[in-house]
Point group: C2
Chain length 430, copies 2
């Protein structure tokens, strides 16, 4: 063990190795992380549910057990939109205050079967929609951490936990990862089982992963089914600002250019790729599918517990219910007809390099920022990996994303690992 | 109009043409179908909710409206597991007696936007699981119609409606279609939006379609997103009894052989295809994924309303909760690793010809029969089309299914249309 690096900064991969050989006990790790949460959470507000005594018990039980799998002894933070047996799960809403699920969601069950234990539940925006949670950005407490997976992103960024589960319907993994300066992975549809996750949009919802390195993401993704190992390769990158480049901040434009230069300097080919003229309609189509399906999924809460919803969510659902079925049908048809868009984008490249957000985290806790730059990729079912790509003058993180063809998750993660090493100048953070 | 064929036997395609030209009014059609329901439903028990006055109103409103789309004026029956705005929806359970959704499910919304109107809700087994509904098989009232989409299959078979919506998690479209002697289509994952359908297994659930011809299925599927039109072609068929051929009745074995002969006689190539030795594990893997995810989806009902569940469902959920997470993880991994199975099956053929059920509908109303012969295809995400393939000596229908590669829905339906014409000796029922 390298005593110079405190446990809370170790990578999940390194922790897993030390835990598997019993050079490190889960109980020791639990103490370090509980202490760190006690120090930081009163300001950061990462946790929706955090029971130090229960967490200690879970960790100790794994120390007393044979090695269960590749995650043995690793702590996991779980977004409060995801069911956890015996641990309060409120879906970010007072309607579900005190609700304790009987069963783990599939992703939690699979992680636990591989030896992970739940450190705590992380704050989510209300039903993983737009009304913010109390979480603050670890880089500057006056800034949003992004949402809806606010607590998961901030917890990983602040070293409260090595990795965390989130969900994304528009940009709820990629955007907070970018705002908090960590890695975020949103898989292709059907890769990570969603059973036991509070539903928003059946067409769009996915479970995602936050960590501080791509290798750590892959460690968890392999267990959850998101990725099979792919051989490392030097990817051909396509640079795309999409059709909404006018929405990017100057800092973000510079970060994109600097990132492209670093990838080129690392030996990769980086070429501009063009979107078809019709690409722009994907942004609106995603918005419509999300709104209509979320209004369907939350119809009982709107009908029976309207007064317990935030005004912004109630208004969103009301507006969504006024969207014409014809517009919804057209949006779904746009999604189905998107093969030409994908073929044009990926004609000569392995993955795309694109902005993860319009810029740095906005200096407010009233909103969680704009998911704009995730909308088309989410509708298309592309795997996406947010990567830290420098900071603005005030030290706030900027993020890019690596985007793959639908279901090409393993290669997309391999390309992201290559890209992250290049962006960090060959130094991968431990 | 051909007055020799009563309206209730017209195909949806023919009805659509006459309704679009206003040679037939939706109100006239509604009267004919309401009359038929009044005559037959007291014995068949197809309907979970049927309001003749409301149905008349919906039909009349379309007669008074410009043609809205390709389904203008066509009546639709909707499985009671699918939300319908303003129409009672109980999910086949007394727990939801009197429940009236505020919104239509996506599939209902899309059909209505194209001009269809809801004739009634059809009986489902309890939560689309195993406890039977009261529906009887139109071919012999002592036999099950199959399940879980019992009412939808029987309604189409009895000429109460030209087409109907169902759902399938294991074999809940394909089996009742076969037992009732109609066509049933279960799409590939993600083709027909599931928003607004009561959840069982997020990994497996799909919305399906019942009709009396493949052309009628395609008419509705095009609107719902399941299929794009494919050019007609003479398919290369692969004949597979799977690894569970020992479970097939003698009648079913003869029906498979006779079907293969008819396809050959029609000019198609039909060859035996082999399953890999490991194919057999797909049956059990599907069963595990279904059980674990259904137990998760119905956890609130089990926890809070256990006494209102049937004993068979409560026991099923209890058993499911005892399945080890490792077994669930292995089942999901089996699904992800199934590419080799698909490559071996489809190496030299366009589609497979396989049994839709072990035999004819069992002579009981206590169970809905065995979904065994749908399990592997459901897990693999293959599009499946059940086709009538003759009768046993007592006149009970036998069914085969046409199975395509995942997401090859348009060609699978085109192949099924070709096959149905060949099986019927070139005569397609009007």
């Amino acid at each position: 063990m390298n005593s110079q690096i405190p446990l809370h900064r170790w990578s999940a991969v390194r922790l897993a190795r030390a835990l598997a050989t019993r050079d490190l006990s889960a109980a020791t790790l639990a103490e370090a992380l509980i202490e760190r949460s006690h120090a930081l959470d009163p300001v950061l507000h990462v946790w929706a549910a955090f029971d130090a005594a229960a967490a200690r018990e879970r960790a100790r039980a794994l120390d007393d057990s044979p090695v269960r799998g590749p995650l043995h002894g690793l702590p996991l933070a779980v977004k409060d939109i995801i069911d956890t047996a015996g641990i309060p799960t409120t879906y970010g809403s007072p309607i579900y205050a005190g609700h304790v699920p009987a069963q783990d969601a599939a992703c939690v069950s699979l992680a636990k079967a591989a030896g992970a234990w739940v450190l705590g539940k992380t704050l989510s925006t209300e039903f993983a929609n737009m009304h913010p949670a109390a979480t603050r950005n670890p880089h500057d407490h006056a800034h949003t951490p992004g949402g809806s997976s606010s607590g998961s992103a901030a917890a990983v960024a602040a070293g409260l936990v090595p990795f965390a589960l989130g969900t994304q319907t528009a940009g709820s993994v990629i955007r907070p990862a970018a705002f908090c300066g960590v890695v975020g992975y949103k898989p292709s549809p059907g890769r990570i089982a969603r059973s036991g996750v509070k539903l928003n949009s059946d067409t769009l919802d996915e479970v995602g992963i936050f960590a501080r390195s791509v290798d750590d993401v892959v460690l968890l993704a392999n267990v959850l089914g998101g990725a099979a190992d792919a051989s490392p390769f030097v990817p051909r990158f396509g640079l795309s600002l999409t059709t909404q480049a006018a929405q990017l901040s100057g800092d973000m434009l510079r970060a994109m250019a600097a990132s492209a230069n670093r990838l080129s300097a690392g030996g990769a080919s980086v070429r501009d790729v063009e979107c078809r003229a019709s690409f722009d309609s994907l942004f609106e189509a995603q918005r419509i599918v999300q709104a209509v399906e979320t209004a369907s999924a939350l119809a009982p809460e709107l009908a029976y517990r309207r007064a317990a919803l935030s005004p912004v969510l109630a208004a969103f659902l009301d507006d969504a219910r006024r969207i014409a079925p014809e517009a919804y049908a057209a949006a779904l048809a746009r999604r189905r007809g998107a093969r030409a868009d994908l073929d044009m984008l990926f004609a000569d490249v392995d993955v795309l390099l694109a902005p993860a957000a319009p810029g740095v985290a906005p200096p407010t806790l009233e909103t969680t920022g704009d998911p704009l730059f995730s909308r088309p990729w989410q509708l298309l079912g592309c795997p996406c990996v947010a990567l830290p790509a420098g900071h603005d003058a005030a030290g706030m993180p900027l993020g890019v994303q690596i985007i793959g063809r639908p279901q090409d998750d393993a290669r997309t993660l391999a390309a992201a690992a290559w890209a992250l090493a290049a962006l960090r100048g060959g130094q991968v953070m431990q």
